[in-house]
Symmetry: C2
Subunit: 433 residues, 2 copies
Amino acid sequence: MNPNVSEVMGKLAYRRLTDIPDSIDLAVIVVRASLVSAVLQECIQKGVNAAVVISSGFSETGEDGRKLEAEMMETARRGGIRIIGPNTMGHADTSSNVSTLAWTKEIPPGPVGLIAQSGNLGNRIVLQGIDLGIGFSKFVCSGNEADLHFEDYLEYLGQDEDTRIITAYIEGLREGRRFFQLAREITVKKPIIAIKAGGTKEAARAARSHTGALSGSEAVYNAAFRQAGVIRVGGDDELNDVALALLHQPLPRGNRIGILAIGGGLGVVATEACEREGLVIAPLASVTIEKLNALLPPRWPHANPVDLVGIGPTVDNSIILSSLWALMEDENIDAVLLQAPVAIGTNYLSNTFHFNAEEIKVFDDGQKQNLDMLRKRAAEYGKPVLVVTPVNDPETNAYLLREKIPVFTSPHRAARVLHHLTWYRGYLDANQS
Amino acid sequence: MNPNVSEVMGKLAYRRLTDIPDSIDLAVIVVRASLVSAVLQECIQKGVNAAVVISSGFSETGEDGRKLEAEMMETARRGGIRIIGPNTMGHADTSSNVSTLAWTKEIPPGPVGLIAQSGNLGNRIVLQGIDLGIGFSKFVCSGNEADLHFEDYLEYLGQDEDTRIITAYIEGLREGRRFFQLAREITVKKPIIAIKAGGTKEAARAARSHTGALSGSEAVYNAAFRQAGVIRVGGDDELNDVALALLHQPLPRGNRIGILAIGGGLGVVATEACEREGLVIAPLASVTIEKLNALLPPRWPHANPVDLVGIGPTVDNSIILSSLWALMEDENIDAVLLQAPVAIGTNYLSNTFHFNAEEIKVFDDGQKQNLDMLRKRAAEYGKPVLVVTPVNDPETNAYLLREKIPVFTSPHRAARVLHHLTWYRGYLDANQS
């Protein structure tokens, strides 16, 4: 509806909500802050009991805004209307195909539910997630949380059958104790991955002026997250990295990592990245060394990290894959960081090797079967395999993601993910009954 | 030449080096390790005084290899032949258009010189650099450094007029004192950005088996790098990020950062990232607040980070740009982290806003002029502007890079770069006469 015109972008606009003949499940309110209460009043008359208030200019702006927000909430409570926002960019629910976002891009359905205390950060996370092949069940920008709080959305996603992984951008929690209780209950069933922003002085001040959120003590948040099994990440890249791994790979039983790399330097860097993340570079079992002796040239280093010493990518990648299976079968190894090509794109070939890319079939059935096998074995053994392509080639990365193989743009990112996975597994071992 | 065949991939092959009628400037040797000395013997007869020994199987493999390497060096020294390698992936020199790399992709010429103690890491850095629009003067994989050491290449690049920025992947230095002296002399004229790998226990062991390098004490390296003005980075992403900023933007005079963001959450996250990197969130000068009052809606937060509160991207982006100029003119601000669109691609528009992308000219003359102005002002004021696109859109990022605007995929990466730039500037202030 629009009080001033009868048509908006070719669609019929009603002057008043009560002019609409059908019943209304959800009102999306985008009028000036001072007019929101009046619209809610019409919602009451029309029997609407849910609204998304996109309008800003409320408590985030100071005293006058706080008064407007209180007034709005008084009207909403009187009429039994529940509210997302105000000062929100909206929400999306792929289960029921409802979106109140100002986007045209479709959000693919999937098992990740995201609660964001910032519309822009939420957008960044979702769009980046889509690029990684991540699908979403629900996405809500919680805005000022005048009515529905972060904790309400969390409780809902905890129970939601379409949501298998919960991700969150948090600036400040209004119900700390409730959050803690909910998180403890949820994380033993499904992971919660969260960014908690506003942990430094000026950032806390900025958060206050953004959504009126009190960021709270960094130490308290850290302790609460740790005790409630919440995976705390530093930024949106890391958040999606962890979600990607949890989506496609099992949790490792421990923190002993096997590294397979197509070059010595790649192995050194991956090893250092893992050690800095508190992971253990597993000593190879003697049976693994024997298996690798049969596969690799005699000069291979006979230790973890396993350097393929000059074994380049081939179309079937059989030696790389056989070496990978050997590491996965090693009882000393809980997870594998693979920095060798398990699939090869034309760009990768022509950029780095004297292959004539035209003559080589890439991303064919053979490669697909290899990747199916990789996923299958990872699930069977309960050992995640995280891939870092030796050359960061977008074409190859996109192919691997389509085939549900988690791929990361640097060994540091993969090592960080392995750190989180092993920490979460440790939490579950200690807390799951 | 090839002793067994007379043609390789359609090219004439000589049986012996001495059969070649022309004089030879550089020999590239790719035979089995045990045969290298014999080939060098032929080089002596032919009067060749430089060789790239790609062959591996030398000191990196143990006692036998060490002997072969000593034997090879004896021959080389006797004949006055200087050697890159062995166990190298080769080198490239865009000034003289010579490449001994096994690549087909052309390396664009430019002011960055790279010395890599790992071929694979070097490849990763160069290919990723090319994607960022970085050009290279020289690229050398130093291999086992039997003859020419890292320090020789460093000395050369320090004097090379085509090299304005030196980047390096280091596992271990054979001439620590010489490195330190050279670095101290060079960094006051041109920056050195280095990854030093092998800083953890298992990584040091892996480095030893990779190129026979002794990683040395982490504390000693850290102190030496700091005192010699070497910018130490954690990985290849960070290395290219810093190179990109140094390539296109001035060094900031200090560490006081202005943040301009198209959303509150983006501002909060960028603020926290900057604070964690030891940067200062500058209080805005009152004249800046006045300028922004004239540009932004009354509810803007009146403080740094500057949230554009709902000012979306427009085709000319005039408000965003005017706000940026206001921050750059602020005497309290040394550098700007910009998380707002200064150029807009079709994907960005159609993914996130109800724009009809077909109707909007993107990347047109107007946008180009804005970016020219941005670069010009940054140089004039001596204030770098680092861009993080609010939505990580490859199309927009590629456009900005083509226009020589440094763009980073997350505020954390941009803040890390600002940390390095301010540190290096501080080093120069204290050490430049």
